[in-house]
Subunit: 259 residues, 2 copies
């Protein structure tokens, strides 16, 4: 059973995961980050010791969670001193095998959610995707994940990569559409608030219908008059025009092929 954890990283995911583990009575021994400020900031929240040198990590924690930016993972692992300890990473796009050279015991612990340092999330319904070198490790990680969520899933490296890609579309790109909406409202001195009911209904609608069935608007109707007018409205914003045109075209093709 996993009872003690050391967190390598203090970013958005590391922060929320550490806080959730702490709330589930898992002891967070240490938090590593490159700067003492960010290490302390998180360490203080979860009763851990901040460290800025990976060589100073305590031995014999039940689990070492590497939750750093993708390109920082290997440099961190290279300094990791305990080749028999259980290590996991939390990255969507990195295969589990990347850990194989650094410890005998490894796995992946990937919560599928968008995290911010300041906005706490309830882990209870967040899917936590687990992969492990063997069944013993899998069971340990599954037990730990079950303390946080009702939705623990076995997801291999290839599936996780696909999930992460889909997540970029339905989360990061969706949020950028909100950002563009925000920008257009500001330009026209309108309140973003007026768009909120539409935003929530758009997300809620697909609880009961597929995204394909849910689609509305000028592109799916192929309402050329509206589309041309809207392209003109974006006349001085070439990047938005390009996005408008490309997505409208793809909406139209998606629905043409299936009517």
């Amino acid at each position: 059973m996993i009872q003690s954890v050391i967190i390598i990283g203090a970013g958005n995911l590391a922060t929320q995961l550490a806080k959730a583990l702490c709330a589930a009575n898992i002891a967070i021994w240490q938090v590593y980050s490159r700067t003492i400020e960010s290490a302390s900031c998180l360490a203080n929240k979860v009763g851990a010791e901040p460290v800025v040198d990976i060589a100073k990590l305590k031995p014999n924690a039940d689990l070492y969670i590497f939750s750093v930016k993708d390109d920082a993972l290997i440099p961190c692992l290279e300094k990791f001193p305990f080749s028999k300890s259980l290590i996991v990473h939390t990255a969507g796009s990195i295969p589990m095998s990347a850990l194989g050279s650094y410890s005998e015991q490894y796995g992946v612990f990937y919560p599928l959610q968008t995290f911010s340092k300041t906005k706490d999330v309830d882990f209870l319904e967040i899917p936590i995707c687990i992969e492990a070198k063997n069944d013993t490790i899998y069971n340990k990680l599954e037990s730990l994940a079950s303390l946080l969520t009702n939705d623990v899933r076995a997801v291999d490296s290839l599936q996780r990569q696909s999930l992460h890609l889909a997540a970029v579309f339905v989360c990061n790109f969706v949020n950028h559409m909100y950002q563009i909406g925000h920008q257009l409202m500001e330009q026209n001195r309108l309140s973003f608030d007026i768009l909120r009911p539409l935003i929530y209904e758009t997300a809620n609608k697909i609880r009961t219908t597929t995204p394909k069935q849910a689609q509305t608007g000028p592109a799916v109707r192929y309402d050329q008059e509206v589309m041309q007018k809207q392209m003109q409205q974006l006349a001085k914003q070439e990047n938005l025009q390009a996005i408008y045109q490309l997505i409208s075209k793809d909406i139209n093709e998606t629905h043409k092929n299936n009517n």
Copy 2:
């Protein structure tokens, strides 16, 4: 006071608006549509008479609501026989002035929401944007809208055009991102359900923060390794590659300019 309404159109918006007005005890006298099937389908739901000929519309209704596809509006108006009756359209992108040649009394009644024929929506929090030729008409339309929602707003034609454009981004384009996520999950035999908590949190997150502050993911981190990997994953889907590249670039530029 508006007590009797005739609906020209039987699409998504016409359907939900007619049902909401009917529920608010407004008499729907008739529903016009090009085919008797679609006219009857809606008319039956709201106790109205279905008609397929605009010349057969009854005179003296308090309000005639034109809720048809943009390019069908003018052809319908040209057949409209009552040049002294109050008429409105429900279109985001059409200026109010388009109605001026067809009646002495006119305005716009634009509910900002995504509607489907089959999924009923609660109008209570939907912004209804009103514009009118004069104050008397404005007050009539405002009173009617107030029966349906707590959020009635005066929005002129230019503002409404901007709102509609922003709505395309935060609703139609967002929904297309869901559709792409759905497609990627299907291709990899994963359940779309696993993305749901992420989708709802992405919409909810901006209740308490701006979309700019809410952004996460490889593009805002400028994590080139992940972005290159994900472009490769989309290798055989050129349209998705183009969307991935364009939006990632725009996310990056948006955040670069403001850091």
